[in-house]
């Protein structure tokens, strides 16, 4: 049909234009000097391939030289997830990657094609890139989150802490209003003791984890529900994983991921 043909021609022309003068969407730099095609796994079904320089390569797809923009949140989400997937595919294929942020695009310049520009960049930054890749080769990032059951821990403290035990006894013998006020005192005490315990546990676990991993980064804890309280949220760079369990605590590991948190990119 005439329309189909025109569509095809349009797509082909666009592809040709992009390959000459458009931009290169950059996913990551990989630990390999191979020139490979990874398939049409890129954003909007673009063909992802590598542009090598010596023993490193940039993993890219051809695109217009403007950043990807959309007002639709769902679209952006889809792109970001796609970006992650390509990164993971590259990680699986090449073993080690230096990830780049979403929407990093390298354009060509007046007399330099975008491919050339990428090669120039790899060449110029070679020592730095190589050093970083050497540092993370064979490593993965793991998320470690430690939770506790606040009720369980609270009960245990109430059972063992002298001051709290005495206060509990005292409350039993008091009248309504006074008992209420003393209960406030009890709650404050309990809260303070729990915070002390949380601090001790954090320091203990952190020290133990630090021994098993290359690097650990403390991240913010998130609010969970009442049964589970997040004590610690770490991003760790490791070769292997280890875990220990204690009653009333639970640990969640996520990973392995390519080491995003440990690669700062300008």
């Amino acid at each position: 049909m005439l329309d189909d043909n025109r569509q095809e021609v349009f797509v082909a022309e666009k592809a040709k234009a992009e390959s000459i003068s458009g931009g290169r969407y950059l996913y990551c730099v990989a630990d390999s000097g191979e020139r490979v095609d990874l398939g049409k796994i890129g954003l909007e079904g673009k063909e992802v391939y590598t542009i090598p320089f010596v023993d490193l390569c940039a993993v890219v797809h051809n695109c217009p030289s403007e950043p990807y923009r959309s007002d639709d949140n769902e679209t952006v989400k889809r792109w970001v997830i796609n970006h992650e997937k390509v990164m993971e595919a590259a990680w699986e294929r090449f073993g080690t990657v230096l990830p780049l942020g979403f929407d990093t695009i390298i354009k060509g310049e007046e007399d330099i094609s975008p491919d050339e520009n990428i090669r120039k960049w790899l060449e110029g930054d070679y020592a730095n890139l190589k050093e970083r890749i050497d540092k993370i080769r064979g490593k993965a990032e793991y998320g470690v989150q430690v939770f506790w059951d606040p009720k369980f821990v609270g009960d245990e403290i109430a059972r063992t802490n002298e001051e709290i035990k005495n206060l509990n006894q005292e409350i039993k013998s008091k009248t309504k209003g006074t008992a209420y006020m003393l209960k406030q005192k009890l709650e404050n005490l309990l809260k303070r003791e729990m915070e002390k315990k949380a601090d001790l546990c954090f320091k203990d676990f952190y020290a133990r984890i630090k021994k098993c991993v290359d690097k650990a980064r403390v991240e913010r804890t998130r609010k969970m529900d009442e049964k589970k309280q997040m004590l610690m949220n770490l991003s760790c760079l490791v070769d292997k994983e280890k875990s220990k369990e204690a009653e009333g605590f639970s640990v969640r590991f996520t990973g392995p991921w390519p080491p995003y948190s440990f690669v700062a990119f300008g």
Binding site: P67, Y68, R69, S70, V76, V80, G101, F102, D103, T175, K176, G177, T178, A179, Y180, M181, Q184, K185, N188, R220
Partner: protein, 109 residues
Amino acid sequence: MIDIDADNLKHGVLGLVIALVEIIRDALRIQAFKRMEGGSLREEEVERLGEALMDLDTAIEQIKEEQGVTQSVQSVREGLDNVVDEVLNTMINPERQREKANEKQVVEV
């Protein structure tokens, strides 16, 4: 788009009001407690204070139940907690906040 009608407007405003009442009650509790600990209260004063606060608690719970705003109130308080958290985090760790802001920018495009 938020659909506003007379009913859920009342809900929203009531939720906000009760949340504030609870926060003020919490502040009162802390003050009362400090007075008690400070030793400046006689025994019967502690008793009366405790009873008054208990009654306040009961009244608040009753209103929340009758008006069906328990969830609303919780949401408002959680929202306020998050705002305070953000402010504190920015003060304690400005570098981390800047990182997060940059990340957000890239994704929001």
